[in-house]
């Protein structure tokens, strides 16, 4: 089947982005796996319809974010905070890698605490998408994206520096 090798190749190339989008919407490992399966099934069905208009990354991110919204709605409450692993004890390549891992986990936790309306443009910005692409993916006005990113940056700064923030779910 000609579609499978393409699908595998697309997955291999964009797996890190999909994993990060999923992780930003779900902390529980089991539910994260279910959400990832949902996304992959949706992508498997949607990819044949991709007509090449726009970047493939943006297409994948759009499908992923759509499924994440449905997942968050099904989950009812805000994502449960799972216990973080002890990265320092498992660092294989030194203190620098452990510190980077710890910053990444703190950033991920801070992103998860953002309201969904701020979380989604933040995740896409961190993935390298520009305001126009983000507006297209989320169906927003570019000005709205800029406003939300300004608020989100302030909230993240507060969260990462341990200060109380007004932006909570």
């Amino acid at each position: 089947m000609g579609r499978d090798p393409d699908f595998e190749r697309v997955l291999a190339e964009h797996r890190p982005m999909l994993m990060r989008i999923v992780a930003s919407h779900e902390a529980d490992p089991e539910r994260r796996r279910d959400l990832l399966q949902d996304i992959l099934l949706a992508l498997w069905r949607a990819l044949p319809g991709y007509r090449g208009d726009g970047e493939l990354r943006a297409f994948l991110a759009r499908v992923a974010h759509n499924r994440c919204v449905s997942h968050v709605a099904r989950a009812v409450a805000e994502p449960a905070t799972a216990a973080l692993h002890d990265q320092l004890a498992q660092a294989a390549d030194g203190i620098e890698a452990a510190e980077r891992q710890q910053r990444q986990e703190r950033l991920l936790a801070a992103v998860r605490r953002l309201p969904l309306g701020l979380r989604q443009p933040v995740v896409l910005t961190l993935e390298g998408f520009g305001p126009k692409d983000i507006a297209d993916i989320l169906g927003l006005n570019p000005n709205t994206v800029s406003i939300r990113l300004t608020r989100a940056k302030a909230a993240l700064r507060s969260a990462l520096m341990g200060e109380p923030s007004d932006e909570r779910e």
């Binding site: 890190p16 759009r62 759509n66 891992q101 406003i147």
Partner: protein
Amino acid sequence: MNVNDDPQWRALAQDWTAPSRADGGADLPSLAEVRRRARLQTAVFVAELAVCAAAAAALAWRAVHGAAWLPTLTGAAFTAFALLAAIWAWRTRDAGSADSVRDALRTSIGQTRTWLRWIAAGYAICAGALIHLAVMVADAAPPAPAIAAAAAAFVLATLVALAIAHRRQRRRLSNLRTLQADLYETGDTDR
């Protein structure tokens, strides 16, 4: 504002996209799992169609062999409704290709409302099934008491399941509307 234009976003993006030790590939479902899930959905739909076809065949056989018209009619209506519900569920099984988050939310809200209508119809169908059962019991050739009791118990169990589903879907609709308000709060200039 692109991430590369802002040093603060750039620093956060570097941490965000740094290779993660937890991201070792073990969490990614395989293509085989994705295909298995798709096949399972197809199998459930085919099974529902088969059950409806078998019920229709049984009703037709009874009609040909002189069964009373009222129980046959209510049975046919019940089977037709079940078939339509199965087809509707199959057609709305995946909303992953909506063009935007807004569209995906609208689709989810629409599907949830449809589920609520289907549940309301389910209540009516259960009432109709009990009426159909009563008609059969009152018929000149009623079914065996054990069969009638089993059928009544099945309908009652279905009513309980519908009530649980009704509560779940109402909660889901409320959550979706809250999400919609959160994503598209008043004052934002959205497309």
